[in-house]
């Protein structure tokens, strides 16, 4: 019994790490752009597809495929960022919803048009199971947890010390002031967006080996998992998002074990609604900012 719980918590942390890497990018994008990005999961999908393409067509090793997946996604993010995301800075919420939905439809269906809708087999990665403290895990999952931690620490350092990071934080705190002080908000928005999309792609490439399948519609699911996380974590709050991702991962794992897998996808939104009823501003924010 106790062993089962511990094992499920470990399972939860593994999936929580995946959510965290995706959600952290999304929450930063929100902080700067004030738009819920319904297309965020698509960058996760694009990253995976980039890596799959590199492995399948050019026979490249997995580590190289990771780089290719992330870079390819970043390039697409530059285009989307320039033509769409920059233009929704300061637009009403519904404009952001529709525009990002439009981007999601275009990206997803273009991939389906080019590569077909069927599931592709992702053959890279380190999938051998290893036993650690009595738990059997694929090596890849350990890698995911480690990368998750590195990303978190890296982002914390970045927003605290680097010029760009400070500017991002400033923009997410008060957009009007930044414009006055001379920070180029549109430029910051673009870079934040590229960073967020790149992180989503990284998460996609890292999980591909354990998820085996690659297909055009895979991004949508991730989008819907990350949405409640970023709200719970307090929009724009990196640390809060990390904790929220872990909470959701563990909660999902426990629900799948003790209630039923069919309820798993409702966990995110159910938890979110309970949290909001209790604390209308999210878990980690003293006041409602958005």
């Amino acid at each position: 019994m106790f062993y089962t719980i511990i094992e499920q918590v470990v399972n939860g942390i593994v999936s929580g790490s995946v959510y965290a890497i995706v959600a952290v990018g999304m929450t930063m994008i929100f902080g700067v752009l004030r738009a819920i990005n319904f297309a965020h999961g698509e960058y996760y999908m694009l990253g995976t597809f980039g890596a799959w393409f590199a492995i399948e067509y050019f026979d490249l090793p997995y580590p190289v495929a990771i780089v290719i997946g992330v870079v390819a996604t970043a390039v697409i993010a530059v285009v989307v960022g320039n033509f769409v995301m920059q233009r929704i800075v300061g637009a009403p919420a519904e404009a952001g919803v529709l525009a990002t939905l439009g981007v999601a439809l275009i990206l997803q269906n273009t991939v389906i048009l080019v590569f077909g809708g069927s599931y592709k087999f992702f053959s890279g990665g380190y999938i051998e199971p290893v036993t650690l403290f009595g738990f059997t895990l694929a090596e890849q999952r350990i890698l995911i947890i480690i990368v998750g931690l590195i990303v978190f620490v890296g982002l914390e350092l970045m927003v605290t010390y680097s010029r760009m990071g400070k500017a991002m934080r400033a923009v997410s705190q008060n957009i009007e002031c930044c414009a006055v002080v001379g920070i180029d908000v549109r430029n910051i928005a673009l870079w934040t967006f590229i960073l967020g999309a790149g992180l989503a792609a990284l998460s996609g490439v890292l999980t591909a080996p354990v998820n085996v399948s690659v297909y055009g519609g895979m991004g949508e699911l991730i989008t819907f998992k990350t949405l409640p996380i970023i709200i719970m974590g307090g929009l724009g709050n990196v640390r809060g998002t990390f904790v929220a991702a872990m909470i959701l991962g563990i909660a999902e794992s426990l629900v799948a074990t003790y209630v039923g897998l069919q309820f798993r996808d409702t966990v995110g939104f159910a938890t979110l609604m309970l949290v909001l009823m209790w604390r209308p501003h999210g878990l980690f924010s003293a006041q409602a900012r958005f």
């Binding site: 999936s15 998820n211 799948a256």
Partner: protein, 394 residues
């Protein structure tokens, strides 16, 4: 007193004020000497690939028939309608085929919920709806003597499949304790519902019951639970694409080779077995058809399809190919494209399909054998074709 507000009634009324409408259904159908066959399938949306396979299967059959001179000189002309896998669009596509394209017959859809929505539309229009790939038993519960005269189904139902799998697992393998891990859709849910119906017959029980959403990627939690539950086999009715993921993660949590998968989720394809050979060893599957099926007609179909589209056919391609041929045969026997006559011919038909003879019962449900296979040494081994008679609810 019941008044039916119908198109005809309305026309009479309007004729009085001197306006004459041309009722579209007054046009004679197929006057150009073809057989217009509508195919409703998900051509876009998440299930677009099923629609693509279905269309190719039907088109290949049409090509074969037309190449051989057509049906009594009439060529088959296939008109596709996109259901997007949703009832609304399915109904729209069906109406469009009936009203705009003036089709004589419709084959469709893949999803049961779409087919259920199409049934009344076809019934109202008096157009023959021949289903080739939906497995929800309700479709033919309500057809034939059950109500809808114009719906036929040439596909085994979930009930059939559930019974055959359970019977094989209990009698040949001696399993009595099962874990359920099926797809959360009408297909996965219905299959388990009918499995439960027959559990007492085999003194078996279900220990855990879980349904996964299409596209789910994380099965670790649920597989750990199954590992600790003491189940002897996992009953899985799912979609092909999730099986490799489940297989991989079964290896990860250490139940591969210990708890086999039984049911139906394309356990037998080379791709799936390659992804997780150890997990799929010993898997038992009941399929309407599979590419590896040993029959001359089936082999010829696989070869021809692969040559034509440079891709191996799947189940949907086969059933639509076979059903198009079945319909052609019925038209041939009716010696007419009159829909009433074709319907009568279909009810009496004895058609030699690639998996065995097809006949229809009084619910317009085809009596079809199911192929049972087991994965042995990384290869599917066919254990025979089984059929079961359905108990229709009174």
């Amino acid at each position: 007193m019941t008044i039916e507000l119908s198109r005809r009634g309305f026309c009479i009324g309007t004729a009085l004020i001197g306006l004459q409408t041309v009722s579209s259904s007054a046009f004679a159908r197929s006057e150009d000497g073809t057989v217009k066959l509508g195919l409703v399938a998900p051509m876009s949306g998440p299930n677009a690939r099923y629609g693509a396979f279905s269309l190719r299967g039907a088109q290949m059959a049409a090509k074969e028939i037309n190449g051989a001179g057509g049906i009594g000189g009439r060529k088959i002309n296939i008109l596709a309608g996109d259901s997007q896998g949703t009832p609304v669009e399915g109904v729209s596509a069906t109406r469009r085929l009936i009203d705009q394209d003036q089709v004589d017959f419709i084959i469709g859809d893949v999803s049961s919920s779409v087919t259920l929505a199409m049934q009344p539309v076809a019934e109202d229009a008096g157009v023959l709806l021949l289903n080739a790939a939906s497995s929800n038993p309700k479709i033919t519960y309500k057809a034939g003597v059950g109500g809808f005269k114009w719906t036929y189904r040439n596909y085994p139902t979930d009930e059939n499949r559930a019974l055959i799998v359970l019977q094989y697992a209990a009698e040949k393998k001696g399993f009595t304790k099962y874990a359920v891990l099926s797809v959360d859709s009408d297909y996965g849910r219905a299959a388990i519902e009918f499995t439960k119906k027959y559990l007492p017959r085999f003194k078996s029980q279900i220990l855990t019951e879980d349904y996964y959403k299409e596209g789910e990627v994380d099965f670790r939690s649920v597989l750990s639970k199954i590992r600790d539950s003491g189940a002897q086999a996992i009953i899985m009715y799912g979609n092909a694409d999730s099986t490799p993921i489940v297989g991989r993660q079964m290896m990860e949590v250490g139940i591969a080779g210990k708890i086999p998968l039984i049911g139906n989720a394309e356990f037998n394809t080379e791709k799936t077995i390659k992804a997780a050979p150890k997990a799929l060893e010993g898997a038992i599957e009941a399929a309407a058809w599979l590419p590896a099926y040993e029959s001359e007609k089936s082999k010829a179909f696989v070869d021809k399809f692969t040559a034509e589209y440079r891709e191996a056919p799947n189940n949907h391609a086969y059933v639509h190919w076979e059903t198009t041929h079945l319909l052609a045969k019925a038209i041939e026997q009716a010696q007419s494209i009159d829909r009433d006559k074709v319907r009568a011919a279909l009810s009496k038909i004895h058609y030699a399909s690639a998996v065995g003879e097809v006949t229809f019962d009084d619910h317009n449900q085809a009596r079809l054998p199911m192929i049972l296979l087991e994965i042995e040494n990384g290869k599917p081994a066919i254990k025979g074709a089984y059929s079961a008679e359905i108990d229709y609810p009174k």
